[in-house]
């Protein structure tokens, strides 16, 4: 059994002892996308400061992000945002005490996963249409 280094007391079972499932994956992804968005704020701050600084600074930002790799990062950022948003709405519903049974959790899991991808793709279709 795993033990806590500082006290020698046993630790509760962690990720590796559970069978992998969609619900578990979404729980992990909710936290992972939250952390990604935390770091992603740097892209947002950089953009706002670049626009405030002038054409040269914005041109540099656009050079970094308006290429296949940069766009993939921005696409990933918007997906993380929508995924975390859909997961967050799920949590807000759970906070009211509703939809806590396994069947409901599975159906909202499917819905929120699909909705996050759909919203991400929708936003980028708009972005490329107005380009």
């Amino acid at each position: 059994m795993a033990s806590n280094g500082s006290t020698g007391r046993p630790l509760s079972p962690h990720l590796q002892v559970y069978r992998f499932s969609l619900l578990m994956a979404l729980s992990i992804l909710h936290r992972a996308t939250g952390i990604a968005l935390y770091l992603g704020t740097l892209i947002v701050v950089w953009w706002l400061v670049a626009v405030a600084s002038g054409p040269a600074a914005l041109a540099f930002w656009q050079m970094v992000f308006l290429n296949p790799l940069g766009l993939l990062v921005l696409f990933g950022y918007t997906w993380a945002l929508f995924h975390h948003m859909m997961g967050g709405i799920r949590h807000l519903v759970w906070d009211t005490g509703a939809r806590l049974d396994v069947a409901s959790a599975k159906s909202t899991a499917m819905f929120s996963t699909i909705a996050a991808f759909a919203l991400t793709i929708l936003v980028w279709i708009v972005a490329f249409m107005v380009r």
Binding site: S6, I35, L37, Y38, V45, V51, Q62, V126, A127
Partner: protein, 128 residues
């Protein structure tokens, strides 16, 4: 499990060991609700302007409605992410000294992100 004789209201008024009561939980939810429409507005703004030249982007962000929406998103978003990252740190950093150091850095990071963004939006809006 030992039973406390305190009522739930009494426990809340006592604010628990951290003396902050349900504030963290509540602000996490409040900023989450605010972020739903604000993040959607922000992403649409970004999608509409991302490839445009500087003059267009600056004019778009200088629009009062766009600027206010971005400012609201920055405040609610940064507040939300600071609370969220604090929980992640509390979960994964067992050493107390290191944990407190990370929580301090978390707050500083949030403050820098917020102030830099707000400064930028003000500069775009009011010029010079």
């Amino acid at each position: 499990m030992s039973q406390s004789l305190k009522t739930p209201l009494g426990k809340v008024r006592g604010l628990g060991s951290a003396k902050s009561g349900t504030d963290h939980f509540w602000m996490q939810r409040l900023t989450a609700i605010a972020n739903v429409p604000l993040a959607v507005a922000f992403v649409i703004l970004l999608a509409l302007t991302i490839g445009k030249p500087h003059a267009v982007q600056a004019a778009t962000l200088a629009n009062p409605i766009a600027a206010i929406l971005v400012l609201l998103f920055v405040v609610a978003g940064v507040w939300h992410m600071r609370l969220g990252m604090q929980v992640v740190i509390e979960d994964y950093v067992p050493n107390e000294g290191r944990r407190i150091a990370f929580i301090v850095i978390n707050t500083f990071f949030a403050a820098v992100v917020a102030v830099a963004s707000i400064y930028a939006v003000f500069k775009i809006s009011f010029g010079a």
